[in-house]
C-alpha cells in the first residue's frame, strides 16, 4: 500500500533548523546554561599498556577553584553497564567501568577527573596531577597479533569455494589494507548532567538518547524514569555518539559528587581515544569466474582490530554475501586484540572497508577478463538475495548502473589503463556498486493537534545534522493536511516515545512510519469522536470522505472545548520479513593523477542510488553528497596514524587527520533511481545516508588504476603509494 502523496512528500524543503544554526542561536549541549554549572576535565593515560603505580593529586586538590579530584580507585560508585557488543547487548561502547581500577588498556584511557568552578580551573587542576606507571609494551599493529574467531560468529559458507575456483576460467586473488579512522564530528562529545535528589537530567550530544538514559539508570541504580536525556541538536556523530562512552557516566558521577550541574566536554585530541574508532582491516579476496564474467567463487577473509575486552567485528564481508549472484561463497571474519580503546561502528561500518576490497577485486577481474566493469556487474546481478533466497523488497540496481553510466558518460570501450593523458596528468575513470542493509527497529511517536491550528509531533530520535526535523515534519504534514511550518517537531528527549538510535541510516525509514501512525491515530480518533457526536457538523459523515486539515480539527477542538488532542503511534517493522531490505547504488568517478608526483584529484563523481521513496530530495541529496565526500576521504586521505611502539595517536587533531577541503571536491552528482519500496513500510523509504560512502573509495581506486595502471590496495591512496606502484618514475 502506497500513501497518497500530498505535495509535502517529495518536496525539496529547506532545513527548518537552518536559520538557528547559521545565526548561531541553536542550543547545542555545550551551550546549555545552568546556574552553578561546574566543569569536569579528564586526565588520560600517557601509556598504552600497564598499571598506574602512583598518582599524586595533592597539588590538584588544592588548586584554585577545584571542587573534586577523582582517581581510578572505583570510589565513584559507578555500576557496571553492558557493552553493545556483549551478550547482553547493552548501550555502552566499551563495557569497562571508568575510573574503576589501575589497569591501563589503551593510550588515552581516562585515569582521573578534576571538577572545578570553571573550565580553566579544572584544566589547571588536571595539569597538577602526577602519575607513575608500570609500563608494558603494547600490541598495536594488526600484523603483530594472532587472529581469532569472534565468539559466536560462524563463517558464511554457500556452496563450495574450492569447487568454484576449480571450475573458473579466470581467478583473481588480492590483499587489501584499510587504516584505522576516526569519526571526527564537528561537535566534540559533550555531556551536561544535573541531579535533583535521585532524578537526573542530562544534556548529551548523542545519537541515542534512550541508550544514554538506560546506561545512566543502571550505572547509578535509579529507575530509567528518573533519568531524562535531552539532545536537541547534535553536530554530527558518524558513530562516535551511537553508543554510550565512559565520559557520559563520569559527567553524571561528577555532578552527583559535587552536587551541582557539571559539564564535561571532550577536547578534539581526546576524541581520538574516548568515543570509538573504525578499526584497521586486512582483507583477502579471491574471485573465480567463467570467461563470460559469471562468478563461480568468491572468498572474502577479513581481519579487523578490536580492544582487549570487546569483541567488535568490522564486518567487511557482510555485503559480499548479498551483492552478487554466485554459487560458491566463503566469508571468514577474524579479529585481533590490540591495546586500543574498543572500536565501534563508523559511517557504513564493515561496508566501507569491505566494499573497497570487494569492488576493487571486481575491477581486477574485469581487467583480467578485458570486460567492461559495468557489464561484469550486470552479468552477476543478484535477482534475489543470494544469502537467503528471499526476494528484494525493492531493487533498481540495474537502473543505477544504466542511469549513472549515462549521466557520467561512461565509455565501456575505453578500459585500457594509462592511455588518456593531458600533459603530465593521467586521466582515468572507475566505478563500483553500493549497497546498504537495513536493520529494522521498532519506533513509537507522538502527535498532537492544537486548537490554534498547529500540530506537534515528537519522538526520542535525533537530528544529527541529517535533516530529521525537516523530513519528519513533511511526513506529518502529509497526513495532517497542514503545511510543515505549522508543525512543531520535537526530537532528542527521552520523555518522548522511544525510537532506535540514529545509526545505520534508519531514522526516516523506521521512525518516519511511526510518525505516520501517530498522526493517523490523532486524526482518526478526533474524526471518530466527531462522526459519532450528534452535536458535531461531521456527525455521521464517512471518515474517509472528510478532507482533513486545520480547518476541520480547529473547529472540532473549539466546539468540544479542548486545547488539543494527542495520540501515540507505533511502527513495528517485520524483523522476519519475507523480503531482504537493502538500498542500492552505483558510483562513477573520474580522477586526474599526476603521473610524476602521484597526486590524485577527483574531478567528478556521479552516484546513482535506489533508496526507495525520497521524502525530501534536498536533504537526501545532501546526505549522499556527504557520503560520497567521506568516500573520497577514505580513498585519498583519512587515516589515523598510531605510533607502533608507544601506541598513541600521532596527530590527534584536524590539522593532521585529513578530511577533504572544499578545494578537493570537484563536481558531485547525485541521481535518484527507483521508486517507493512497497515492502519496507507504507512510507516506502529506505536508508539514504551511509550508502553514499559504500563503494565510493573503490570507484576512485579503480579510476586511479585506469588512469595509471597502478593498483593501490592500501588506503589511503597517498602520492607516495601511487609513485611506489608506478613504473613511470621520474
Amino acid at each position: 500500500m502506497s500513501p497518497q502523496t500530498t505535495p509535502w512528500i517529495g518536496a525539496a524543503a529547506a532545513r527548518v533548523d537552518g536559520p538557528v544554526k547559521v545565526t548561531g542561536t541553536a542550543i547545542y549541549t555545550g551551550d546549555v546554561a545552568l546556574p552553578e554549572l561546574a566543569h569536569a576535565v579528564l586526565v588520560q593515560s600517557t601509556i598504552a599498556k600497564g598499571r598506574i603505580t602512583d598518582m599524586d593529586i595533592a597539588a590538584a586538590e588544592t588548586a584554585p577553584g577545584v571542587l573534586a579530584v577523582c582517581t581510578s580507585d572505583g570510589s565513584l560508585g559507578i555500576g557496571r553497564v553492558a557493552s553493545y557488543y556483549s551478550a547482553d547487548n547493552g548501550p555502552m561502547g566499551d563495557g569497562r567501568t571508568p575510573l574503576s581500577d589501575a589497569v591501563i588498556h589503551h593510550h588515552g584511557q581516562h585515569i582521573a577527573m578534576v571538577v572545578a568552578q570553571t573550565l580553566e580551573e579544572a584544566v589547571a587542576g588536571a595539569e597538577r596531577i602526577r602519575t607513575r606507571y608500570r609500563h608494558q609494551s603494547p600490541l598495536v599493529r594488526i600484523e603483530d597479533a594472532i587472529p581469532q574467531t569472534p565468539p559466536g560468529r560462524e563463517d558464511i559458507v554457500r556452496g563450495d569455494l574450492t569447487t568454484g575456483l576449480a571450475v573458473a576460467d579466470v581467478t583473481v586473488e588480492a590483499y587489501y589494507e584499510t587504516p584505522p579512522q576516526h569519526m571526527n564530528p564537528m561537535e566534540p562529545c559533550t555531556t551536561t548532567a544535573h541531579w535533583v535528589g535521585d532524578r537526573l537530567t542530562v544534556y548529551d550530544s548523542t545519537q541515542y538518547v534512550s541508550g544514554v538514559r538506560d546506561a545512566l539508570a543502571s550505572a547509578f541504580g535509579v529507575p530509567p524514569a528518573n533519568v531524562r536525556v535531552l539532545s536537541g541538536f547534535v553536530g554530527g556523530g558518524f558513530g562516535s555518539k551511537g553508543t554510550v562512552w565512559p565520559h557520559v557516566l563520569l559527567a553524571a558521577a561528577a555532578a552527583r559528587l559535587v552536587d551541582r550541574p557539571v559539564r564535561l566536554a571532550l577536547t578534539r585530541p581526546q576524541m581520538f581515544t574516548s568515543c570509538g574508532t573504525r578499526p584497521a582491516t586486512r582483507q583477502r579476496i579471491v574471485l573465480g569466474a567463467h570467461r563470460d564474467g559469471r562468478l563461480t567463487a568468491i572468498g572474502h577473509d577479513g581481519t579487523s582490530a578490536t580492544s582487549p575486552g570487546e569483541n567488535v567485528v568490522e564486518s567487511t564481508g557482510g555485503l559480499t554475501s548479498i551483492l552478487y549472484a554466485c554459487p560458491n561463497v566463503t566469508i571468514r571474519q577474524r579479529i585481533v586484540r590490540l591495546d586500543m580503546q574498543a572500536p565501534t561502528f563508523q559511517r557504513a561500518p564493515g561496508r566501507a572497508p569491505g566494499s573497497f576490497a570487494l569492488e576493487s577485486a571486481l575491477d581486477e577481474l574485469a581487467h583480467e577478463l578485458r570486460m567492461d566493469p559495468v557489464e561484469l556487474r550486470l552479468r552477476n546481478h543478484a535477482d534475489a538475495d543470494p544469502s537467503s533466497g528471499r526476494p528484494w523488497s525493492g531493487k533498481h540496481l540495474r537502473e543505477c548502473y544504466r542511469v549513472g553510466a549515462e549521466r557520467f558518460g561512461w565509455d565501456p570501450a575505453d578500459r585500457t589503463p594509462g592511455t588518456r593523458r593531458e600533459g603530465d596528468v593521467l586521466i582515468g575513470t572507475g566505478m563500483a556498486s553500493a549497497t546498504h542493509e537495513m536493520d529494522p527497529g521498532p519506533a513509537a511517536a507522538y502527535a498532537e493537534l492544537r486548537v490554534d491550528g498547529t500540530a506537534v509531533i515528537g519522538v526520542a530520535s535525533h537530528d544529527i545534522g541529517t535533516g530529521t526535523y525537516t523530513v519528519l515534519g513533511q511526513i506529518a504534514a502529509d497526513v495532517l493536511g497542514l503545511p510543515p511550518e505549522r508543525i512543531i517537531v520535537r526530537l532528542g528527549d527521552t520523555d518522548l516515545p522511544e525510537a532506535p538510535p540514529s545509526i545505520g541510516s534508519q531514522t526516516v525509514a523506521y521512525v518516519g512510519p511511526a510518525i505516520r501512525r501517530a498522526c493517523e491515530a490523532v486524526r482518526d480518533d478526533l474524526l471518530a469522536a466527531a462522526v459519532a457526536d450528534p452535536e458535531s457538523p461531521l456527525y455521521r459523515r464517512e471518515i474517509g470522505a472528510i478532507e482533513f486539515g486545520p480547518r476541520t480539527y480547529v473547529a472540532e477542538l473549539a466546539r468540544i472545548g479542548e486545547p488539543s488532542v494527542s495520540a501515540v503511534g507505533h511502527h513495528h517493522p517485520d524483523a522476519n520479513s519475507r523480503y531482504a531490505v537493502h538500498s542500492f547504488g552505483a558510483h562513477f568517478a573520474e580522477v586526474a593523477v599526476d603521473a610524476l608526483t602521484g597526486t590524485v584529484r577527483v574531478r567528478r563523481m556521479v552516484g546513482a542510488f535506489d533508496v526507495g521513496r525520497v521524502i525530501n530530495p534536498r536533504t537526501a541529496r545532501s546526505q549522499l553528497l556527504g557520503g560520497m565526500t567521506f568516500g573520497l576521504a577514505q580513498a585519498l586521505m583519512e587515516a589515523t596514524v598510531i605510533d607502533p611502539r608507544r601506541g598513541h595517536v600521532v596527530e590527534p587533531h584536524l590539522a593532521g587527520y585529513h578530511l577533504p577541503v572544499n578545494a578537493d571536491i570537484g563536481t558531485l552528482d547525485v541521481l535518484f533511481v527507483g521508486e517507493p519500496d512497497p515492502h519496507i513500510s507504507d512510507l516506502g523509504a529506505r536508508g539514504a545516508g551511509e550508502i553514499g560512502v559504500v563503494g565510493a573509495a573503490a570507484a576512485i581506486a579503480n579510476a586511479v588504476f585506469h588512469a595509471t595502471g597502478v593498483r593501490v590496495r592500501t588506503l589511503p591512496i597517498t602520492p607516495d603509494r601511487v609513485v611506489a606502484g608506478s613504473a613511470v618514475g621520474g
Binding site: P269, G598, R601, G656, H658, V661, A663, T718, V723, G730
Partner: protein, 294 residues
C-alpha cells in the same frame, strides 16, 4: 602570563630587551595553536598588532620590496604578485582564507618551520631579514637565517622588522606537494627564481631537510649550463636532459626523513619532479617574455 602591547616599534624593542623570553605574536596563527596544544607556556606574550608600520611595505630605489614583518599573505597575493611572484604563489597555498588574512612572512620566519611556505621563495629571491633590537639593526641574509629545526638566527632581544626582497627580474615559480588542495602542510615544496640580469638561478627547498635550504649544486650546474650553452643570450630551448639533471641535483640537496606525511624516498622523488617542472616553466616563460620584449 603577561600580555604586553607596545604601541610603537621602539617600545616593542625596549619591551623585548626587558623580557627576552616574551613570545612575539603577529597574526598568531602559529602562536595560538602552540598555546592551545600546550606546547609552550611563555611567561609573556608580546603583541605586535598595534604597530602599524609592520603591516606596510615600501619600494626602495633599487626596486627592493621592504615588506613589513606582519603583512598578511592575502595582502601579498593582492598587492605584490608582480614584484614578488614566487612569494605570492607560495602565499596562495597557505592554509585557508582566514589563515592568509592573519598569517605573515615575519611569523613564518619567526617559527622557522622547515615546512613554512614562505621560505623557499625567500631563498630563491635572495631576501634579507631586517632584525632589530635596542642594540641596533642587522641585515641577515636569508641563507644565514635558518639554523636548525624551528631555530633561526634571531638573538633573544631581537625582533624582525621587515624582509627585504628584490623585485623579480625574471620568472619565479613555487610548487608544493600535499595530500589535499588546501589547509595542508607541505610534504615537500620547491621554489625557483630566474635572475636574468645577474644571469643567475636560485632555488629553495621546503619540508625536506631540518631547515629550508638552497640546492647549491643544482644552482651551480644550471648557471654553468646556461652560460656554457649561451642560452641566456640565445633564449633557446632548455634541453629536457638539463632540466632532469637539475631535478636530480635538487633532490640530492635534500636531507628528508620518513614521517607521517611521506617517505624520504618519495620526497626526493617529488622534489626532482617539481624542480624539473618549475625550471622548465620559468625558462619557457623567460623565453616568451624575452621574445615579447625583443
Amino acid at each position: 602570563m603577561e600580555f604586553l602591547r607596545p604601541a610603537t616599534w621602539e617600545e616593542a624593542l625596549a619591551v623585548k630587551a626587558q623580557h627576552p623570553s616574551a613570545v612575539p605574536i603577529a597574526g598568531g596563527t602559529d602562536v595560538m595553536v602552540d598555546l592551545n596544544f600546550d606546547r609552550h607556556r611563555p611567561d609573556a606574550l608580546l603583541d605586535l598588532n598595534r604597530i602599524h608600520e609592520l603591516h606596510t611595505w615600501q619600494i626602495a630605489d633599487d626596486d627592493t620590496v621592504r615588506l613589513g614583518a606582519s603583512v598578511p599573505y592575502s595582502k601579498i597575493i593582492d598587492a605584490l604578485p608582480d614584484r614578488l611572484p614566487g612569494l605570492a604563489l607560495g602565499a596562495r597555498t597557505v592554509g585557508s582564507p582566514q589563515i592568509r588574512n592573519r598569517g605573515s612572512v615575519g611569523g613564518n620566519l619567526g617559527g622557522a618551520s622547515p615546512a613554512g611556505d614562505a621560505h623557499p621563495p625567500l631563498l630563491a629571491s635572495g631576501a634579507t631579514v631586517e632584525a632589530a633590537s635596542v642594540r641596533g639593526t642587522r641585515l641577515i641574509p636569508i641563507d644565514d637565517f635558518y639554523l636548525g629545526v624551528k631555530r633561526n638566527a634571531l638573538e633573544p632581544d631581537e625582533l624582525i622588522r621587515a624582509i627585504h626582497i628584490p623585485s623579480a627580474t625574471g620568472p619565479q615559480q613555487f610548487a608544493k606537494v600535499g595530500t589535499r588542495n588546501a589547509m595542508v602542510i607541505a610534504v615537500c615544496s620547491f621554489a625557483v627564481a630566474l635572475h636574468p640580469r645577474a644571469r643567475d638561478v636560485r632555488t629553495g627547498i621546503g619540508s625536506a631537510a631540518p631547515t629550508p635550504r638552497r640546492a647549491s649544486e643544482a644552482e651551480a650546474f644550471i648557471r654553468a649550463e646556461l652560460d656554457d650553452t649561451g642560452l641566456w643570450t640565445s633564449a633557446g630551448e632548455l634541453p629536457l636532459s638539463t632540466a632532469k639533471r637539475f631535478g636530480e641535483l635538487v633532490a640530492r640537496a635534500a636531507a628528508p626523513i620518513d614521517d607521517v606525511r611521506g617517505s624520504a624516498a618519495y620526497r626526493r622523488h617529488a622534489l626532482a619532479v617539481m624542480a624539473r617542472r618549475t625550471l622548465l616553466w620559468t625558462w619557457n616563460d623567460h623565453r616568451a617574455t624575452g621574445r615579447a620584449a625583443a
